[in-house]
Amino acid sequence: MAVVFDRPKSLTDAKFHYCPGCHHGIIHRLVAEVLDELGLQDRTVGIAPVGCAVFAYDYFDVDCIEAAHGRAPAVATGVKRTRPDTIVFSYQGDGDLASIGMAEIVHAAARSENITVIFVNNAIYGMTGGQMAPTTLIGQKTTTSPLGRKSELTGYPIKVCELLATLPGATYLARTSVHDPKNVRQTKEAIKKAFQLQVEGKGFSLVEVLSACPTNWHMKPVQALDFIKNDMMNYFPLGQFKSPEEAK
């Protein structure tokens, strides 16, 4: 029988520990498929975050470094600057990238580090049990905004792509979602473009993927898809925020 669906080579056979309905697994798979298709597995170094994806180094079958919370872009910089022939990507959540690691991501983009960032925005701190994130929506209930996030107290969710788009160093910025098959395909295209640009030495690329955390959103997986479509996409519009053509 012909095999029509198989595990990408760039993933190990370790079982994901992610919750049912979590999108981390889908996004891992897309990254691995892209690495396979571009033939990059053998020269890739992945930087794992602190967050639910902390064990990414067990899942990606590439050399990996586990970074401190938020510091992945700096670690990636250290790798890329010493080994320019490697393909370097960081995989980061919204607490990791947009809160504690805001300085590192902004400056990596400003320097146009030739790296690729996979930014998983699930509007919450998943690993630590559902606290408010810098991307938590106004009104969204979390364990540290039990009555819903209020702008008077904690301001407004950060739109990372829009923010980084002001930097001449950012080469490619896109926000996508994986809540339905069409969007999964588009996410893969964006990830592929991001890595392709790195291969061509074009500079900093980031794909922000809106992602479900059914566990801490306290939703069924299907409800969580609706939350992405109706609530998250309303505040975080999908699209390309910087293309290599408009970069610099």
Partner: protein
């Protein structure tokens, strides 16, 4: 190679290059800025990379990433910046990566001042960040010794896969002295099979990591580190003893303070007081045996530091009650004078010593 006249801070940079280091990540801070400035000129000339990071936090994480790829890499800062680096240093120690971290100390706490100090001794010798770990801490006392210890530091870092700290002060950094860099070295002879450079045909991926969620596994990792630390303690201590053989009063001091202490001891000898200087070169591991050997004739030990008294604790621990230990310190960027140390030696010799 012949001797050249150079400034301490720049010698750190050139010695690193002579040891095969081609990568430097840092953030400006007084009183060590001549070092990054020097390397920002020199490294591009020889195909290396100098990168000014957005903060010390980022700089040490760039070092972490670079070290993970198996190259020789260095960062430098001064006290407030070293505090910021502690998280990254802890990760580097936990992941067992080699690198050199330079701390040209200034007075604290807080923003403190910019004048020489030795008040980061505790931080340097007790790990500094979270978790059970040690840095190998080297304390040069001359420009030539800077060159020698930077070179040796890279070898120690790779031999033990452990971060090494060069601990100096602003005086040493600013001082001009002749220096001979000796032969060039590199890290090529050390095993790098663990480095994350892409699999390149390797079967298993390499992972650089300090996370062990299962307590049983973390304990094994901690015990492995302990084994390494014990080996370093037994093999790598270094110290200098100056006129200690017959000394009744031994002054224990490191770095620039030890040089001033030597002048004080010379003054004491002229007055017939049998005094000497014990100078630890490794602050961790502390040269316990060497200190005991240097104080066989002693009646008392005077510890002198540019702090409120930090190394004095290691002196007491090493002597374990065998001798009275007293302390003299200046702080805030004030430097002890040879005269003041001499007065202390004299006072102690009257208190503990025999008649001259």
């Amino acid at each position: 190679m012949s001797k050249v006249l150079m400034k301490g801070n720049e010698v750190i940079g050139e010695a690193a290059i002579k040891a095969g280091c081609r990568y430097f990540f840092g953030y400006p801070i007084t009183p060590q800025s001549e070092l990054p400035e020097y390397l920002s000129r020199r490294l591009p000339e020889i195909g290396g990379v100098y990168l000014q990071a957005e903060s010390e936090v980022a700089a040490i994480n760039m070092v972490y990433g670079a070290a993970a790829t198996g190259v020789r890499v260095m960062t430098s800062s001064s006290s407030p910046g070293i505090s910021l680096k502690q998280e990254g240093i802890s990760y580097i120690a936990g992941s067992e990566l080699p690198c050199i971290i330079v701390n040209i100390m200034r007075g604290g706490p807080g923003l403190g001042g910019i004048q020489p100090s030795q008040s980061d001794y505790f931080q340097a010798t007790r790990g500094g960040g979270h978790g059970d770990y040690y840095l190998i801490v080297l304390a040069p006392a001359s420009v030539q010794e800077i060159a020698d210890l930077v070179k040796k530091g890279f070898d120690l870092a790779e031999k033990y896969r452990n971060p090494v700290m060069i601990l100096g002060d602003g005086m040493l950094g600013q001082m001009m002295e002749p220096v001979d860099f000796g032969v060039e070295t590199s890290g090529d002879s050390f095993d790098k099979s663990w480095a994350t450079t892409g699999k390149n045909g390797r079967k298993k991926s390499n992972i650089v990591n300090s996370l062990y969620l299962k307590p049983e596994e973390l304990e094994v990792h901690n015990r492995e580190l302990e084994k390494k630390y014990l080996e370093i303690k037994s093999k790598e201590t270094m110290a200098e003893s100056y006129l200690t053989k017959d000394a009744e009063i031994v002054v224990a001091a490191y770095g620039m303070t030890a040089r001033i202490a030597k002048s004080a001891v010379d003054m004491a000898r002229e007055e017939g007081i049998r005094a000497g200087v014990f100078r630890p070169i490794t602050l961790w591991p502390y040269p316990e045996k060497e200190l005991n050997a240097a104080t066989v004739s002693a009646k008392g030990v005077l510890t002198v530091e540019m702090s409120l008294g930090q190394m004095v604790e290691d002196v007491k621990l090493s002597l374990n009650g065998r001798l009275p230990v007293e302390f003299y310190g200046r702080v805030g960027g004030m430097v002890p004078t040879a005269r003041a140390i001499f007065e202390e030696i004299k006072r102690m010799s009257e208190k503990f010593g025999g008649v001259k």
